[in-house]
């Protein structure tokens, strides 16, 4: 465990809960475009952190740095440190495959595999060596229950995942990720492509999962951020072509009622963005 970094900077809230992810001076380059600069923040364990900011301000890109999904895109470079439970995620020899198992991700577009509901959820465990049918059944049931989908699909487990509604598909994806026991759940605008009634189900689900999984959600919808998150980070790209920065990071209540930075206030009150 490297010693806790204590230098306060705009991104570090008062340390009252256990920290899951620590980010210090993170820069991100995509080819010769400098996308993010000087991002530092601490994500609390078993809490919901929201990333907000105008579209194209790099919040999704930053989210992808946390589980090294950006490695899949050729020509990208990450500087600075990202610690998961104190261990450097970009350290030499770290297996990104294992990292992505522990830091699951939900995408904007629900993307169940073109397989049955059962196979979708069992895909992760099968990847990591679970073979016994009975064990798989337990994991599938448990994951679908945690994702509040079990009652709706328990009789149609062999039907294709694509036959479900948008909201159900998204919850299936969540169940699929839960099946591999992640510590962290990254959600990249999970609700922007699904109907309002399902959004409510997903938000309730996040509230329940918060007790066992650290959740980070990128969202355009400030009301959603206010409703579901404990802490909020506001990202901004001042001028086009310039790297985006983390303007302010703090308890959601404070950010939305008494933001310290004028730029946050302008964004919150909808003057721009």
């Amino acid at each position: 465990m490297s010693e806790a970094l204590d230098c306060p900077s705009p991104g570090v809230p008062s340390a009252d809960g256990e920290v899951k992810i620590t980010v210090r001076d993170l820069d991100f380059h995509y080819g010769d475009f400098h996308a993010l600069t000087g991002i530092s923040c601490d994500i609390k364990a078993r809490s919901v952190t929201a990333f907000i900011g105008p579209s194209g301000c790099g919040k999704s890109t930053f989210l992808r740095c946390l589980n090294r999904m950006n490695d899949l895109i050729p020509g990208t470079r990450v500087d600075g440190t990202v610690l998961l439970d104190g261990q450097d995620v970009y350290g030499p020899g770290v297996d990104p495959v294992d990292l992505r198992r522990r830091v699951g991700m939900i995408f904007q577009q629900p993307n169940p595999f073109p397989m049955s509901i059962y196979d979708n959820v069992a895909y992760g465990p099968r990847l990591h060596g679970v073979k016994k049918r009975s064990e798989l059944d337990d994991i599938v049931r448990m994951s679908l229950e945690r994702a509040n989908l079990w009652k709706e699909v328990k009789d149609i487990l062999d039907r294709g995942g694509l036959t479900l509604s948008g909201g159900q598909q998204q919850r299936l994806c969540i169940a699929r990720v839960l099946a591999v026991q992640p510590d962290v759940l990254l959600m990249d605008e999970p609700c922007s492509a699904i109907d309002p009634t399902s959004v409510q189900k997903i938000e309730d689900l996040m509230a329940e999962l918060k007790s066992s999984v650290t959740i980070i959600i990128v969202t355009h919808n400030m009301q959603q951020a206010a409703r579901v998150s404990d802490e909020t980070a506001f990202f901004l790209q001042e001028q086009a072509g310039e790297p985006a920065i983390l303007v302010e990071f703090g308890r959601t209540a404070e950010i939305f009622t008494s933001p310290k930075d004028k730029r946050t206030e302008d964004y919150i009150t909808g003057r721009f963005g």
Binding site: M69, R100, N111, Y123, H128, R176, V177, V180
Partner: protein, 279 residues
């Protein structure tokens, strides 16, 4: 007056395009019809399952049917793994650069090689230098080079048709690249890949110039891959040019057309079923 002239030419032009469009159907109908009308009388169990005998190859064409299916099947076995894995490389692993451009240029060149050149190549390499002699294996190897670019292209298109975010879903669960490709991408693209293989097999069944110089022309029921044989296409060519046993020629042509159509139609059916299933 001017407006009518414009509409007149437009109507005339449309008529020409309708003519062009329907001509293709008429021509196809003529070719298939001619072969069907003259050949259907010849087709019978006896024609399909007995050997040719007698002065002018009366009787059935069974050895040529076996030879055609044998060489095409063997070619499919040889080309499928290589072409599919090559397509996986191009679609999933390749980074744009000189190497990939060379591979694509080579595949395009291979696809445009005249079949007679592929035949002589098979003769020079497989029949003579590798010492297989006139045989099914020589034919299959030559055909596999002919089929390689076709299967590579259709497989790559099938893989690229699998949406990106499905791959991310798999990576997001901690799957390695090969796990993602083998467990999600390939199964999702499977039916289109199979369609590509069937279409290339249909093309191989219709080949003459390639097999005439690699599998030979001896009417013989091939058992071992090193046995020679005469394909249905070569048999049709010989019967047609000898011009004595025309009924058998028509019968062979009809069976050949039936086989090729079966390949093409089954490929189309598979594609449509897949599109509906994934829709």
């Amino acid at each position: 007056m001017k407006r009518d002239a414009k509409n007149l030419t437009n109507a005339a032009a449309l008529a020409v395009f309708w003519l062009a469009g329907l001509t293709t159907v008429v021509v196809l109908g003529a070719v298939i019809g001619y072969v069907l009308v003259n050949g259907v009388g010849e087709i019978g169990l006896e024609f399909i399952f007995t050997n040719p005998h007698g002065v002018n190859a009366e009787g059935g064409i069974w050895p040529t049917i076996v030879a055609t299916l044998y060489v095409t099947g063997l070619a499919m076995l040889i080309v499928t793994p290589v072409a599919v894995l090559a397509a996986v490389y191009l679609a999933e692993y390749a980074v744009q650069g000189r190497l990939v451009r060379t591979i694509r240029f080579a595949a395009d060149t291979l696809a445009s090689v005249p079949s007679i050149v592929m035949g002589l190549f098979g003769l020079a390499l497989f029949v003579e230098s590798m010492g297989f002699g006139f045989s099914v294996i020589s034919g299959a190897l030559a055909l596999s080079f002919l089929m390689l670019p076709i299967v590579m292209r259709t497989t790559e298109e099938a893989i690229r048709a699998v949406p990106k975010y499905i791959r991310w879903g798999s990576y997001g669960l901690g799957a390695s690249k090969w796990q993602t490709v083998s467990r999600v991408v390939l199964p999702a693209a499977a039916s289109r890949i199979i369609t590509g293989i069937i279409l290339s097999a249909g093309r191989a069944v219709g080949e003459t110039a390639v097999v005439i110089f690699t599998m030979g022309t001896m009417i013989n029921l091939p058992v071992l891959p090193t046995d020679p044989g005469r394909s249905m296409t070569v048999h049709l060519y010989q019967l047609a040019m000898e011009g004595i046993n025309m009924p058998a020629a028509f019968g062979t042509a009809l069976l050949l057309m039936a086989m090729v159509l079966a390949f093409n139609l089954s490929a189309r059916w598979l594609l449509r079923r897949n599109r509906r299933m994934q829709g």
